[in-house]
């Protein structure tokens, strides 16, 4: 037995993150730790890697009880970690990043040689002199993996490693992981993506609300049965109405370009697409490929010099601010829930006023009507099953899923003609995600035009009618979702539409 946890408990002021957790990882196995957001997976591995200390319980490493006081000590024992939100320093070089994350303190020149050695051995090409901010997300992950492998670890913890990768990158990662398993290393693989776990893992431990609720062999379980263990209740999978009436073009974007001097984000290059009333249009892509610029241009937070490039119901709006666009029937749900979608310290009622003051009757003769705001907030809470203390609760007190339901509800109740949503279910539990998907599809059936920008391909395939892919600020041609495969989208996410048309290219193969 390589690692054994027994009775691990960790409590925070607001919740018990881990409640007497027991499980073990054998040598040479890929062990999945499965659970919803907030189930306590991250806290658990932080304790294994020494970032946090358990309140109770013991960690047994290679048969000996150990106290892992800090990450340096974990690395010395042979435990490595690849982080979910990469623990990299953007303005520093690959070499410096690796040097910072390992225990040895040798000269950098030798380290550079070793980085190249290891990266070639495992097929993870890296240039030690490049700066992190110039790397793609997949390359950044490679830096983390190589850094981890340089320590020759016998246990590698991977926290949601595939959430930001293209499908092809995921396949490559799995080849590397299987190879590491063959070398006798153990991998603790944290995910909530059931297909991946079925494809990769030898055993799975399922966490729910901080407790271990089951143990299984993923190859023998169905994705559905594991999902049920993970969520604890039946999830209603939203049904897609394929026969909805599609209307006229509602949002038209034509040759929208934008360039910034910012080296950290992609520019936009002649983006063209349209969203019709009564359809959900999806834009897929790995984060940092221009989505943020596109969204801020569409919402009106950033004005475009090309007024004609963005049209809502035929009216050019590129030069109009967000307030005027809202009056034209646009509703917008940004990616970041706290700080962009809501003001964290303000009550839910106050937060309804923020996006609703111009389009509803919350303002009369220049005065805010707080009683109406409270009534509206209560209405949203009831209609969308938001679990909260009430309309006076602060936005930051809600869980991610509940806050997202509230924000989407707030925009939906305005019966918009056009809804733009970024990452509707990012970090949201499965139950809330299903509810949000259902709400979006109901809105579509009522004739609203909906644009969904998401990194989650499963989500886009489940709810969209047509989709396109953004890569390095360029948008691919749109295709009906049911004529599209994950592989095609993956190629486009990797930016392969320089040659002719990747959709067709793939079809010919």
């Amino acid at each position: 037995m390589r690692l054994e946890l027994s009775g691990i408990t960790k409590a925070f002021p607001a919740c018990i993150a881990n409640d007497h957790v027991n499980f073990d990882v054998k040598a040479g196995e890929i062990h999945a730790l499965l659970g919803e957001n907030g189930a306590g997976k991250s806290t658990l591995v932080k304790m294994i890697y020494g970032i946090m200390q358990p309140d109770e319980g013991s960690i047994i490493w290679e048969g000996k009880s150990v106290q892992i006081e800090n990450p340096g000590m974990a690395r010395k024992l042979g435990i490595g970690m690849v982080f979910q939100h990469f623990s990299l320093f953007e303005s520093m070089s690959v070499l410096e990043n690796v040097a910072l994350g390992i225990n040895e303190k040798g000269p950098l020149k030798e380290l550079a040689k070793r980085i190249i050695e290891v990266s070639e051995k495992y097929g993870l090409p890296l240039d030690p002199d490049r700066h992190i901010h110039t790397l793609s997300v997949g390359e950044r992950q490679r830096v983390e993996i190589v850094r981890c492998l340089l320590q020759d670890p016998s246990l590698i913890i991977m926290d949601e490693p595939t959430s930001v990768l293209t499908p092809q990158e995921v396949d490559k990662l799995f080849v590397t992981l299987r190879r590491l398993r063959e070398e006798g290393r153990s991998i603790l693989y944290i995910s909530h993506k059931l297909d991946e776990i079925k494809a990769l893992c030898d055993r799975a431990t399922i966490l729910r609300a901080g407790k271990v609720v089951g143990d299984c062999d993923p190859s023998k379980e169905s994705a559905r049965s594991m999902a049920q263990m993970m969520v604890g209740e039946e999830i209603k999978i939203p049904a897609k109405n394929l026969n909805a009436k599609v209307g006229e073009d509602c949002l038209v974007v034509e040759n929208l370009s934008m360039s910034t001097n910012d080296v950290f984000v992609a520019d936009l290059d002649n983006v063209t697409f349209s969203v019709k009333s009564g359809e959900i249009f999806g834009i897929a892509g790995v984060a940092g490929n221009g989505q943020n610029n596109l969204l801020s241009l569409l919402s009106g937070e950033r004005l475009s010099a090309q007024g004609q490039a963005i049209r809502i119901n035929g009216l050019p709006v590129g030069h109009l601010g967000s307030h005027k666009r809202r009056k034209l029937g646009l509703a917008f749900v940004p990616e970041e829930r706290l700080g962009h979608g809501t003001v964290p310290e303000m009550s839910l009622a106050d937060n309804t006023v923020l996006s609703g003051h111009g389009v509803s009757d919350l303002v009369q003769m220049g005065w805010l009507r707080f009683s109406k705001a409270h009534r509206l907030a209560k209405k949203i809470i009831d209609a969308f099953d938001v679990r909260t203390g009430g309309s006076k609760s602060e936005a930051k007190s809600l869980s991610g899923g509940n806050l997202q339901k509230f924000i989407i509800g707030r925009e939906l109740l305005k019966s918009p003609q056009l809804l733009i949503v970024a990452q509707p279910t990012w970090g949201v539990d499965a139950g809330a995600a299903a509810a949000i998907h259902q709400a979006l599809m109901d809105l579509r059936d009522q004739g609203c035009a909906i644009l969904v920008v998401s990194q989650d391909l499963d989500e886009l395939f489940a709810i969209t009618d047509r989709m396109a892919v953004i890569s390095h600020g360029r948008l691919s041609e749109a295709r009906p979702t049911h004529e599209t495969t994950v592989e095609q989208v993956g190629l486009l996410m990797g930016g392969l539409f320089d040659q002719v048309d990747a959709w067709d290219e793939e079809a010919q193969r």
Partner: protein, 311 residues
């Protein structure tokens, strides 16, 4: 006639070095603090406290060396108060820094009350036989006080520390992303604490330079805004020690120029000339801020953000 002009020129250039040196110390101290991700606006206050502490120590002991050490200690002491506030109690860095300056002004005035008008003999310019006596280059290269040379050494050492040493790399990492640094296992709070302490010590030194060498006396508020110029210099230098040195000499030059233009009887309002260094600061900041990329690549990304280990 010609001889007179050369002598004046040499005097002016020596003055430039004296004007620049306190700015170098204070700017380098703040640069290290900011590289760790902490914005300490208390530079002016720490300089004043250093100035008064150095002055009192010299009056008491007669030793300029002890004076400089006392100044560093006093600066570091005040900085440790700031460090406790922002690192342990998570107070707002901007507000705490401003409070530190106001506090420093008051505390230095209080302790300095009995020393106004007290004469002291500060350290003199060095004189190396033969070398210093070479005409023109001699005094310019070998005729400054020791602190002028130390400032150059400090800049070189800081540049080396930041770009080449392991601890310099760790310091930059902490300023770049404290969460990542914490996740890898570096003691973020401790590293920042020492960076703030170093910043305080250097500001103290800068203050003592003013009260012991620049104008060997004590007067309330005698740093006269140099702390703020040092702060601006760090941004001006885009967090690079070498550029901070150049900037300090530029500002030192403008300050001295202003004094000399007045003494030469040029008919410009003294108040207008007094504004010169500050107008130059503003102009340079405007120019620098136009290049967003440069700022983002060199500025510590976590500058001014509070860090909590459990977050």
């Amino acid at each position: 006639m010609i001889g007179f002009e050369v002598e004046t020129l040499i005097a002016i250039l020596l003055g430039v070095a004296r004007g620049a040196t306190p700015l170098v110390f204070a700017a380098i101290g703040e640069l290290i603090t900011e590289k760790s991700g902490v914005l300490n606006l208390g530079v002016e206050g720490m300089m004043l406290v250093g100035a008064v502490a150095g002055f009192i120590a010299v009056v008491a002991t007669g030793s300029p060396t002890l004076g400089f050490f006392a100044a560093m200690l006093a600066g570091a002491l005040l900085a440790s108060l700031f460090a406790f506030l922002v690192l342990v109690l998570h107070t707002n860095q901007v507000a705490s820094g401003l409070a530190l300056t106001i506090f420093g002004v008051g505390v230095s005035a209080f302790f300095g009350l009995g020393y106004i008008g007290t004469p002291i003999k500060g350290p003199q310019a060095i004189h190396i036989p033969v070398l210093t006596d070479i005409p023109v280059i001699g005094p310019l290269l070998f005729g400054h006080d020791i602190m002028v040379y130390l400032a150059f050494v400090l800049v070189a050492a800081t540049a080396w520390f930041l770009s080449k040493s392991r601890w310099g790399m760790i310091l930059r990492a902490v300023g770049e992303s404290h969460h990542a640094a914490h996740a890898i296992g570096y003691p973020v709070v401790m590293i920042r604490f020492f960076a703030i302490l170093f910043g305080g010590a250097m500001c103290g030194l800068a203050g003592a330079y003013i009260s012991l060498i620049y104008t060997p006396m004590w007067a309330e508020n005698m740093t006269a805004g140099r702390g703020w110029i040092a702060l601006a210099l760090v941004v001006f230098a885009t967090w690079k020690p070498g550029r901070a040195l150049i900037g300090a000499y530029l500002f030192g030059g403008v300050t001295i120029l202003q004094l000399n233009v007045q003494s030469l009887g040029v008919d410009v309002s003294a108040h207008l000339m007094n504004m010169l260094p500050y107008i130059a600061t503003i102009l340079v900041l405007v120019l620098i801020s136009r290049d967003e990329t440069k700022i983002r690549l060199n500025a510590p990304a976590c500058l001014g953000k509070p860090f909590r280990a459990d977050g």
